[in-house]
């Protein structure tokens, strides 16, 4: 064998090895997803061996750690729902409004200054938001409620909801901004040509075109709100509370997961395993939301032939 041939062989072998290593690295991300799914699923199944699945989904009493403990998660889902709704009620109008201003009205210079500010908002750790919600916002809400004759607790759903909403603003604004900017300019020019005002153009032409992207951004925000942990652990209550009053304390799925796992219960007890059952619900719901969000944005990309999103 000539040296040339042996070197070629060596090189081909190297090439194969490197390619194999690259594929192995790429499969890690799949293994991670599977790891999350199975680690949650197996422990959740253990939980459902001990307690009824049906009561978990429909029961209204959550009382771990006592004799005859009950695991009905409806009050926990309800609390999560209320806080999420408050968060989205803050985040969607403000996020979308900011995105419209930045993409339609702001001059490039103003944009260059404003965009980093929203990015700072996105870079603040959630534990910091949680501290702010618990120490600053919650007392403000108690005082405000008192001044109009209402009673609020210091761990009201409103405080954590509002701060969570602010945390989600950049999620919604940055994606919406990209989507609105990728609506072709020809559409705007056509609308101006027909005599529409700028406001009418945005509301009747640009926003309907960008709607799939905006919905996708909102769903992403929703999934972020459902999975947010630190803000609610620090500022929301621990008590499962089936109520619609945002001034009361209520708990969420993530808070209950944290509390079941940092408690002193044995790992195989239903108290600890219930965290995995709740984790499974959270995983499935956020996965579905993410899937819908991704497919909407993919459709938008295909329609307007943009690759930058």
């Amino acid at each position: 064998m000539s040296t040339f041939e042996s070197r070629k062989k060596q090189r081909e072998l190297n090439e194969k090895l490197i390619k194999f290593a690259l594929i192995a690295a790429a499969t890690i991300s799949i293994l991670t997803t599977l790891g999350i799914l199975f680690s949650i699923l197996f422990e959740a199944i253990e939980f459902f061996k001990l307690r009824s699945f049906w009561y978990f989904i429909t029961g209204t009493e959550w009382s771990p750690g006592v004799v005859g403990s009950k695991f009905g998660a409806v009050p926990i889902f309800a609390g999560t729902f209320v806080i999420t709704i408050i968060a989205l009620a803050v985040a969607i109008p403000v996020g979308l409004g900011s995105a419209i201003y930045m993409s339609e009205y702001a001059t490039p210079t103003v944009r260059d200054y404003l965009k980093p500010i929203l990015e700072v908002l996105a870079g603040i750790p959630t534990v910091v938001y949680g501290f702010f919600a618990a120490i600053t916002v919650a007392p403000m809400i108690v005082n405000a409620a008192e001044s109009i004759g209402l009673e609020a607790t210091f761990n009201s759903a409103l405080a954590s909801g509002i701060v969570m909403g602010i945390m989600i603003i950049p999620v919604i604004s940055s994606l919406s901004d990209d989507v609105i900017r990728s609506v072709p300019d020809s559409q705007r020019k056509a609308a101006f040509g027909l005599g529409m005002t700028h406001g009418e153009t945005i509301r009747n032409i640009v926003l309907p075109s960008a709607m799939p992207g905006i919905i996708s951004a909102s769903l992403l925000g929703l999934s972020k709100a459902l999975g947010e942990t630190m803000i609610v652990v620090m500022a929301a209550g621990l008590r499962p509370n089936l109520s619609w009053n945002p001034l009361e304390d209520m708990t969420t799925v993530t808070v209950t997961i944290v509390n079941s796992l940092v408690g002193d219960f044995e790992f195989s007890s239903p108290e600890t395993l219930s965290a995995f059952a709740l984790g499974l619900v959270l995983f499935v719901v956020t996965l579905v939301l993410n899937m819908i969000s991704l497919s909407l944005i993919r459709k938008f990309k295909e329609k307007y032939k943009v690759n930058t999103l």
Binding site: L22, A25, A26, I28, S29, I30, T32, T33, G35, I36, S39, I40, E43, P93, V94, G95, L96, G97, S98, I100, Y105, L114, P116, L118, V120, G123, I124, P125, V127, V128, G130, F131, F132, A134, I135, T136, I166, G195, G199, E200, S223, K224, L226, G227, T229, M230, V233, M234, T254, I257, V258, V262, A275, G279, L282, F283, T286, N290, M291, S293
Partner: protein
């Protein structure tokens, strides 16, 4: 109701729309709404920073009292006797506890009485800063007296940076959490950076457009949006229960955070690789290089600034993450800095979480100060990333 003036000029104008004024008004209202929502975000950020700095700044100062301290056998045995009885409650218990250590390092102090600046109790500190305090009237009188004599001084709080966590508020510091953060993030980057970049190279340069590739892509996008707390459940079930790695250790925390940081690194590295024009690759092939040589020697170096930027942003995000670390037990009480990645440790955001839940007022101040430190580091990291991007950005 909008009053419409009809003059002759408008009546003759065939394009005149009587609703025009209202339409313009509505357009301007819409613009104001969008602007106000942006102003809301900016105003919130300003209020937030103002609030945190206002709460955190006092923690960088701490109170010392000048007292006569007696160093002898008896006081080393029970250091409470080192100061006069009436001062005992206003002096830091932790400072007294460390007295024997001080004498050991400075033997010449033995059997002397020195006028020394002694760390004050946290309640004295809070009282002098005008915060909520819990002191007896006698103690308040004593402190006021010392203050008028100029025997009380506020100094830069170096304890905050040199000490670990403590149950005694004036002695608690961020040091062990900082070291824990460094060790954890070291593991995170050692794992996430190579795997992330390799995945990006595979997907951009080598993979065929087939089902497997598309599955990986969808999967990465999903992974980026999975709630962080679920990564904590993964860490607990797999790294701790299955692999038997020690609970609360930087190695488990680092691995968990690495899996969370992966999608960020992959997405940004792919964008950087995609930005390298095809002409570079074709020129390489034209010279007889194979795919690996082209990627390794030409494409990757050109894409590297982008890869680095994305990795720094991922690092900053991992640094502020708390929820998964709580699940794997990194909120334990850690007074001493961890010596290795297998020791129990805590990280900065987890330390802030622990302090925020403490009843003493001084911990609130310390939490806010810790937030200032954390945000400074995070904003610097992001600024470095932006600077690198601007400096090495190549316009093809």
């Amino acid at each position: 109701m909008i009053k419409r003036k009809k003059n002759k000029k408008q009546e003759n104008n065939p394009f005149y729309d009587p609703a025009l004024k209202a339409r313009h008004a509505s357009a301007s209202r819409f613009k104001k709404f969008t602007l106000s929502s942006l102003i809301f975000s900016v105003a919130f950020l300003a209020f937030f920073l103002f609030d945190i700095i206002g709460k955190g700044m006092p923690a960088f100062q701490i109170t010392y009292i000048k007292l006569d301290v007696t160093y002898n056998e008896k006081t080393i045995d029970d250091s409470r006797f080192a100061v006069e009885k009436k001062y005992r409650t206003i002096v830091s218990r932790a400072w007294l506890r460390d007295l024997p250590k001080l004498v050991k390092s400075k033997p010449e102090l033995m059997n002397t009485t020195q006028s020394t600046w002694v760390l004050a109790d946290d309640q004295v500190d809070q009282y002098l800063k005008g915060h909520h305090y819990n002191m007896k009237d006698k103690e308040i009188k004593l402190v006021d007296e010392l203050n008028t004599q100029g025997l009380i001084e506020s100094r830069f709080n170096s304890i905050f940076f040199t000490n670990g966590d403590s149950k005694i508020p004036e002695y608690a510091g961020l040091n062990s959490a900082m070291i824990g953060s460094v060790l954890t993030l070291l593991i995170t980057m050692l794992v996430a950076f190579p795997i992330g970049v390799m995945t990006a190279i595979y997907l951009e340069e080598f993979a065929d457009d087939n089902r497997f590739t598309r599955f990986i892509e969808v999967n990465i996008n999903n992974l980026a949006a999975i709630p962080s707390i679920l990564f904590g459940l993964l860490g607990l079930a797999i790294f701790i229960n299955l692999f038997g790695l020690p609970r609360s250790s930087p190695v488990v925390g680092g691995l968990t955070l690495a899996l969370m940081t992966l999608p960020i690194i992959i997405v940004s590295s792919r964008a950087a690789l995609r930005a390298v024009p095809d002409s570079i690759r074709q020129a390489g092939y034209g010279l007889g290089l194979n795919k690996i040589q082209v990627t390794k020697d030409h494409v990757l170096p050109l894409a590297f600034p982008g890869v680095l930027t994305g990795s720094i942003i991922g690092l900053a995000q991992a640094m502020g993450e708390t929820a998964p670390l709580i699940i794997i037990g990194m909120i334990a009480f850690i007074p001493d800095a961890p010596g290795s990645v297998m020791d129990a440790a805590t990280v900065m955001p987890a330390q802030l979480f622990t302090w925020a839940g403490m009843p003493e007022r001084m911990y609130i101040e310390k939490t806010a100060a810790g937030i200032m430190v954390l945000l400074t580091v995070l904003i610097s990291l992001n600024a470095i990333a932006i600077y690198l991007r601007k400096k090495f950005e190549v316009k093809w």
